[in-house]
């Protein structure tokens, strides 16, 4: 049985600490904006959490350093996006409250970023597929009519550009490497491809922000992503998976709507342990 979409999750409000600050004045498209900020922040948080699982276990010391560095960039970005989400929401929730005190159904990250690390090939392929999307998203966000979004995106864009440079380079080298590295990268691509469609689905929140000129529709980012991916896969001598069934793109499904895979609950159980076990303690 699939988990329930977030609209069915009761009592989300009760998870938030009593908000002392006065609610911010209602701004136009507030709900859509909060959704977008949660989606963007949660992508960074969950992928950062996943990458940090490699710490000390990567196949070379340089990779330990690089992955920790990327995780650090993503955690930093998530602090900014979630901080802004809490401010726009106006219920007094901080970035930490949002990261540590929401249950899985309230998370808005893509299914792709919660996929388990598996082998290093899966980790790199997941990173590449996401980085290529992330850069396009941030490129658009840099030009947002909302200066708060544009400001965070300008900082994050620089990091994402480097992330993509690195992950694309490794996908090429491993795809066009040994027979084994080629096969592993091809297998990773096959396993992850059906989680890429969700990045480009549009829903009412997306349409509201597009209409307001805050962010373009996710679907508009697709052609650039397709070009990057096709070019890198070609150079990597990997076979493009073509049209396959995509996960999380129906009206009721997908991480963007809070309907996640089983993996997210386990990730959160670990990540939120101290905040849940010692409510209200300061660290």
């Amino acid at each position: 049985m699939p988990s329930l979409p977030d609209v069915m999750t009761p009592a989300l409000e009760t998870l938030a600490p009593a908000g002392q600050p006065a609610p911010a004045p209602q701004e136009a498209n507030r709900d859509a904006l909060v959704e977008w900020l949660l989606r963007t922040g949660d992508n960074a948080l969950i992928l950062g959490q996943r990458l940090s699982e490699w710490c000390g276990h990567a196949p070379a010391l340089e990779e330990d350093i690089a992955l920790a560095n990327q995780a650090l960039d993503l955690i930093g970005q998530c602090q900014l996006w979630l901080g802004l989400a809490g401010a726009v929401e106006g219920r007094g929730r901080t970035a930490d409250d949002l990261a540590f005190l929401r249950d899985a159904g309230a998370f808005r990250n893509l299914l792709l970023v919660e996929r388990p690390n598996r082998d290093f090939g899966h980790t790199l392929m997941r990173q590449f597929l996401f980085d290529a999307f992330h850069l396009e998203l941030l490129e658009a966000a840099r030009a947002s009519s909302d200066p708060r979004i544009a400001e965070i995106a300008a900082k994050a864009w620089k990091e994402a550009a480097y992330h993509l440079e690195r992950s694309a380079d490794l996908v090429v080298r491993l795809g066009d490497g040994s027979a084994e590295s080629h096969d592993r990268m091809q297998a990773a691509l096959a396993a992850l491809w059906s989680f890429t469609g969700e990045m480009f689905t549009d829903d009412d929140h997306d349409r509201a922000l597009a209409d307001a000129g805050v962010m373009p529709l996710p679907s508009s980012l697709r052609p650039a992503w397709d070009r990057t991916v096709a070019q890198v896969l070609d150079e990597a001598t990997l076979t493009h998976p073509g049209e396959v069934w995509q996960q999380g793109i129906t009206d009721m499904g997908g991480g963007k709507r809070g309907v996640h895979s089983e993996h997210l609950g386990h990730l959160l159980a670990q990540m939120q342990f101290l905040q849940r076990a010692y409510p209200g303690a300061r660290w």
Partner: protein, 328 residues
Amino acid sequence: MYAQLVTTEGGTPREGMSDQERAFQERIDRNEKIEPKEWMPEGYRKTLIRQIGQHAHSEIVGQLPEGNWIGRAPTLERKAILLAKVQDEAGHGLYLYSAAETLGVSRDELLEALHSGKMKYSSIFNYPTLTWADMGAVGWLVDGAAIMNQVPLQRTSYGPYARAMIRICKEESFHQRQGYDIMMKMCAGTPEQKAMAQDALNRFWYPSLMMFGPSDKDSVHSEQSMAWKIKMNTNDELRQRFVDQTVPQAEYLGLTVPDPDLRWNEDKGGYDFSEPDWSEFYAVIAGNGPCNAERLGARVKAWEDGAWFRDGLMAHADKARARRVAAE
């Protein structure tokens, strides 16, 4: 201090040295740095490889006990700080392996020696990190002990090692402060948090004292290493300095050092304290610590699981080279 130790070296008078050896020792005595391509006694080179290699291994194995809590760090800021710290440690491993490479040993050779158990890493990393307060205790005590050891090594005679140490010490001092900051937060927190902090101190106190190595009377090869200035102080001197520095810090936190015999000795201007259980130290070094199997096992697994990745990159480099040659 150093000059006295040379005279107490006994059995190796300067007259017995070859001209080359004497010239080498005189350079060290003048505090000149020895650089990679220069002549050095084989014993100096081997001892340095062992010492730098062990230090490098400690940095990379040392990622594991702290990596154990990155996923469970209680706030986003703590998570970011811990990630940055563990990343620094991997970076220290990188400088140190590079410093060792200047002595003619490859990183792969050193890793092979680590994985086969031929080379060791610091005993401290074979202890488990059981609560978040352990992240505080590791930074405060373990990095604190490491700094005690490493600050004097910034003046060590081998140039690449000394220079690596300068950079490492800067970062370690930040690590120690972040560890102490965690402890302050825990000690000012709930009773449960304070209890975690005390428990962490209880478990890490003696293993931290062991980090300086056995007592001087049982420490072999110390004198030669000091003559070569690849060891700048004796184990007991550094341990005393560490205790003298750390006890007031524990008092400030309101924590009790788990040593009933700890007391200030006015005459020596330092604390009297109990020795750690050296039989435990030797057991841990021999592979019988609580986490030896996990720590080494994790490193070996990372290396073996990553073989295809490293081979794939090499295969690509070969192909790219062949294509360049073909195009010429």
